[in-house]
Symmetry: C2
Subunit: 350 residues, 2 copies
Amino acid sequence: MANITILGAGLMGTAVAWPLVDNGHDVRLVGTHLDAAIIRSCLDRGFHPKLKRQLPDGIMPYYVEELPKALEGADLIVSGVNSLGVRWIAHTLGPLLWPGATVIAVTKGLEAGPDGSIRILPDLLHDELPAEIRDRVSLNAIGGPCIAGELAGRRHTTVVFTGKDMDIVARVRSLFANKYYHIWTSTDMIGVEVCAALKNAYTLAVGMATGMLDLEGGPDDAGASMHNVAAGLFGASAREMTRIVGLLGGGIENVPWLPGVGDQYVTCVGGRTIRMGRLLGAGLTYTEAVLQMAGETLEGVYIVQQLAQVLPEWERQGKIGRHELPLLRMLIRVVTEDAKVDVPFDRLFD
Amino acid sequence: MANITILGAGLMGTAVAWPLVDNGHDVRLVGTHLDAAIIRSCLDRGFHPKLKRQLPDGIMPYYVEELPKALEGADLIVSGVNSLGVRWIAHTLGPLLWPGATVIAVTKGLEAGPDGSIRILPDLLHDELPAEIRDRVSLNAIGGPCIAGELAGRRHTTVVFTGKDMDIVARVRSLFANKYYHIWTSTDMIGVEVCAALKNAYTLAVGMATGMLDLEGGPDDAGASMHNVAAGLFGASAREMTRIVGLLGGGIENVPWLPGVGDQYVTCVGGRTIRMGRLLGAGLTYTEAVLQMAGETLEGVYIVQQLAQVLPEWERQGKIGRHELPLLRMLIRVVTEDAKVDVPFDRLFD
């Protein structure tokens, strides 16, 4: 049995505690400075207010101030923070890490570099860690379709664990895998993580179909909806995802698999990203849509903003043609220029 | 302006008439022997009872007995029959065809050969046509996501036209393409048509997730559904589709595109296939599910039955391993042996 410390008590960070405690491990769940109310509820009532569930036995909640204590003897550290908090976690956790420590991140993201480069989340975390430790720890990540509340509900869930060292990834996998949490492993971190990030961006596009239908007043008299539009945008997403993953050196076989279309499928079922897409499709500008959604920051939007930075550089370097990735280009116009949605249907492919 | 004759007045055959008449062409819509009531309604009231729409001007309805007249001077023939009717159309239309005639099929399907071979619909049609004409006509097909009622509602729809001769495919495309019907072209008939057929089979699997949820009494107290299951099955579908398309010599790039995941996405939104999957997932045997669905014949089931015939041969020939395509193998057990649904979650990949 192992000791596992989770930093970040949000939905996904907390949900992965279920398979861990069901496998008999001890889990220390450490809230960030934003999670104090969650940790209080967990301590007082054993209830997680975001997941709306009682915590099972074997999960011990900690406030962020107790992080050093919660890390004592930890066999594995789970990074459960939002990808926007990667710098915070590097600076908070970094000084407490030890050589040989293993970290796995449940969140997804990528960031643009100045020269057209893209850094995936584990690389970002690496670069932000203190210099003396960053090359002496193992940084891994989870991709694939997973609604946190369903994992915590012990519903069958299929994901991919990825890291550079297959021995370590396999060891981490063995801590989590059980009869409902089904895990495959991959050393293609670029492929898995770029898919995981892109699906959030492209789900904004698929959501636009419902908004376009709203704009027409809903289904027509014969009941025609706009599923054909959504499906076309889903197909275009997979096509552009394939192009970008390949361009960044990842394996394109991740797209027609769990990290790509599997994860995008579940993201299209519901949630904030598809809702934002719907508002945009219905004619709101990005600025108006953000106001309507109470200022929530969306991963998908952040990804589009990052890609907006590298796209001109990719063109300059001759990596992509001027007319490639038409759907992404529209997303960029919508998010960075407050342009109205105008799906380039006739140019979606080639 | 061209004369186009559509044989088969069902949903899809009739729906493609909309872009044709909107482009100014004359359309003759010929019902099969099963469509007599539809043609009567079209003649009497200009109303298509299945599409629940008034026919626009420019569509002329014909009974099947008038087929020779309806074919006079036709520049293009559209085969709108269900893929189960391919022999009927070959025998009915075949004797009336002339050298140089162009046919495009809106339906999808494939059939097992005795030696592990798979024939796509245009090849089946070819082989069933009279010997003296079969090599003197052009047989083409349509793939990609399209709900007929939405195309007839002039919703944006993105599809792929495929045929052996790109000049002919491009000419056919030019008859249909307009501001809402967006068409790409491909000479990879195997890739497009195998995807189009497989998505019906694999949508049965995705539908099982909802049935498995029904079996559990619906979402749990915290609202956990089974979208993770559906997404895992969607990802497995894309993975197995890729394997089969490649094995049959088609381009695997069709999978993360319109003919593959795009079409499967729209098929998962609703309809008979996903409903049948739900019944199976909820614990009904295939035989019980068919009874519940009033004996309707489903394309997806037919495709599974065809694949059940070729799979042992593929193994014997060393084309696939004994444990490959685990999801398809489960579908085969369910459909051909009345086995209960038992998703092989731990063996879904590799």
